[in-house]
Symmetry: C2
Subunit: 434 residues, 2 copies
């Protein structure tokens, strides 16, 4: 690479920029290869925090009489996972902050780190029984949501469609698993107290639907191995028992009380489910790493192949007596008429470099086309969240209710959720302008 | 910044990543500030090549008897502009190729450079009268198209909405001006020969429509100064004369011949128009530079402000006796309930960093929302071009005809061009799968 003082002597040429275009892909793949470790650490940390949240909930709910020891153990485990995440982040710190890749990703990391900095205080509050179970759950949930959002932002920077697709699968799986964790918490509260009030029943229904939506997106982007694992999870015997308990939770009013024994059963079943989902996450993560490594090796080979090719072409070009071809294809095929080298004047050298550059152009365009569906899945998710916020602000309703309103609108109008979300957002723009 | 060997000691924190997020924006602005010079050089080079193309056309059309001297002068001028472009490229070579920003941009530069490498041979062909006027025009046009496509790809990498918008305006103005140049060429051929055949008349109509579409997009993204200049161009007296000549070109059949004197008049009028459009381009370019510089200064100030703020917060944080607040807002406002620091546990330090991070988050989201329209304009353009290719391949028709088919479909179905283009592309996907 040239230094700035050399720049006055450097004359840019097509070969160099073709190589630069290939190198750029390689750099991006290398970046995701290293990012994979951070994403895995986030997946692990989120899992640890979900377990810590569950134990803290029981601990607070029992006024400190239950899960004291378990909670401390889970806390230490979560601390180890937090350190592993920080370590992984430190390893790619320079790469992340040295290139102008994504302000949003960096800011989301800042948000995640900030939340983690408050973790010790949250735990102190739990230990001293000075905060309520709801308040603790909410704080843990926000922390987890913001950690998952880091993976979302990372997915949004991917330019390779396979890699982007797997990250989209990963984000939706993580979100689905998190909704599952929140369902465990609501269910535990209800079953322990012997009854569910309307808000709790509705919240559970909302969380079940939210999970299903996430898993649906997951299945359209996941690799086959992870899909097979996922099918095992959804066809497991446990699912039937969970379904029965869910029905109890939504149908039994507050005057008919439930056997409190069910609380432990529910907690165990859902914990089992969450652990199984974590195994699917690990599989996606493994596949992600393998794909990155594979694509990186391919790109590297292709780059070195092209470098050899180009330097041999340049050698040829320097040799004297090279025949100069004057071609004009304008009467030929409409399809190739748009290209300068084939439609105009070219040498053997020009033609070959031209072919390489055209190949790269077609490849990049295909990759971009294939990337669309992954980008759309991410955009839909953002749209949905934004529409929920709009509804919450305008109608002064809760998050759950806003989700319900959106779903109802979609059902009533026979439209997709994303279409309804767009309309809601557009409506707000109109309201603002009045 | 840390070196890799330090990474084991570095513990990532929210403040660092907030700063990194801001720096990332700053890097991107700096990149566009330097890219502006390259874009200006492309605008100048394209203008030079358009003039060279015009002169070469007349030279070839007159079997070398006219414009010999003018052509050589324009050729030398275009060479100077080419060197200036290469120089500008060399200056940002490292920046462009060192960061994994855009493979597509780099490959498009490779395509442009490759075409420029063939320029001398094209000129030799023109000088020796060994290629036809049509063939030379086509080669120049492809070269120009590929140079403009560099600006398109640059626009696609912009993350700041104002900057992206101005680049979208720039690309569409350049494209419109190029269609105007092509119209000048077709018109010159027709008027010189005393008549227009159907293909020539239709081509002119197509070019007029294509110009209007480009200028329409330009007007929705341009700055006020450039818009005022643009209005001067479109309301100039010359436009009436051009309109009259256009009507002659489309209504007079091949059996009623036109005064060949009109050729010079047409060429002069269109040249005048093209030069006026170049002045608008220069205005957009000037505004682009000013905005980049302004946004860069703002971002720099904001960054240093935040750095000061964060280090003072960190100082505060180290001081002993800091009161630790335990807050839970869960009963309060639904709107703020989603945030961890406000909904959970926080210190004064945490709260302030949190506010800064949230501000940045909201800002980035707003920027992203505002960026959408610019991105859509670029995507529409790509979609349109792709649909034209699909139609050319499937129906075995020319580029002009494909444009006509698309426009007719849109008119008949009462849909937007972009909608029809999507349908055509979707249709091809279906046909492929059979």
């Amino acid at each position: 690479m040239n230094t700035t003082s050399d720049s006055s002597h450097y004359v840019p040429n097509a070969g160099d920029y073709l190589i630069a275009s290939k190198s750029c892909e390689l750099m991006s793949l290398q970046y995701f290869l290293r990012m994979g470790k951070m994403i895995q650490c986030i997946s692990n940390l989120v899992h640890g925090l979900q377990r810590e949240r569950g134990a803290s909930n029981v601990f607070l709910g029992s006024a400190g009489t239950r899960f004291g020891v378990e909670r401390r153990e889970l806390l230490e485990e979560a601390d180890r996972l937090k350190q592993a995440f920080e370590q992984a982040l430190a390893e790619i710190h320079e790469e992340l902050t040295g290139d102008p890749v994504s302000s949003r990703l960096l800011n989301q990391i800042a948000i995640g780190l900030h939340d983690l900095e408050g973790l010790d205080e949250l735990r102190a509050g739990v230990a001293a029984l000075s905060i309520t179970a709801d308040c603790a759950t909410e704080s843990y949930s926000t922390l987890i949501k913001n950690l998952i959002a880091i993976v979302f932002e990372a997915a949004d920077t991917a330019v390779d469609p396979t890699i982007a697709g797997l990250l989209v699968a990963m984000v939706h799986l993580m979100n689905g698993k998190e909704f599952c964790g929140q369902e465990r918490a609501v269910g535990s509260t209800g079953f322990s107290s012997g009854s569910f009030n309307t808000a709790q029943s509705q919240r559970m229904m909302h969380l079940v639907e939210a999970q299903e939506r996430c898993f649906q997106v997951f299945t359209s982007f996941a690799d086959n191995d992870s899909l097979a694992l996922w099918r095992d999870v959804s066809e497991h015997d446990r699912e039937r028992s969970i379904k029965q308990l869910r029905e109890l939770a939504s149908s039994v009013g507050r005057y008919k009380s439930l056997d409190p024994e069910l609380a432990d059963q529910w907690f165990a079943l859902m914990t089992d489910r969450i652990d199984a989902l974590k195994a699917v996450e690990d599989s996606v993560e493994g596949c992600f790493h393998a794909r990155c490594a594979e694509r990186y090796a391919d790109a590297r080979e292709s780059l070195s192949h092209q470098e050899t090719l180009i330097s041999s072409l340049e050698e040829e070009d320097k040799s004297p007596g090279q025949p100069v071809l004057l071609l004009c294809d304008s009467g030929e095929d409409e399809e190739t008429a748009g290209s300068f080298a084939s439609g105009g004047v070219s040498q053997q050298f020009g033609r070959s470099i031209f072919e390489l550059v055209q190949q790269q152009s077609v490849r990049l365009q295909q990759m971009n086309d294939e990337l669309q569906s992954a980008r759309e899945a991410l955009a839909d998710r953002k749209l949905h969240e934004k529409a929920v916020l709009v509804l919450m602000n305008h109608r002064n309703i809760s998050n759950d209710e806003a989700h319900r309103v959106l779903r109802k609108l979609a059902m009533d109008q026979g439209k997709k959720l994303s279409e309804v979300a767009s309309s809601v957002i557009a409506m707000e723009e109109v309201l603002k302008r009045r």
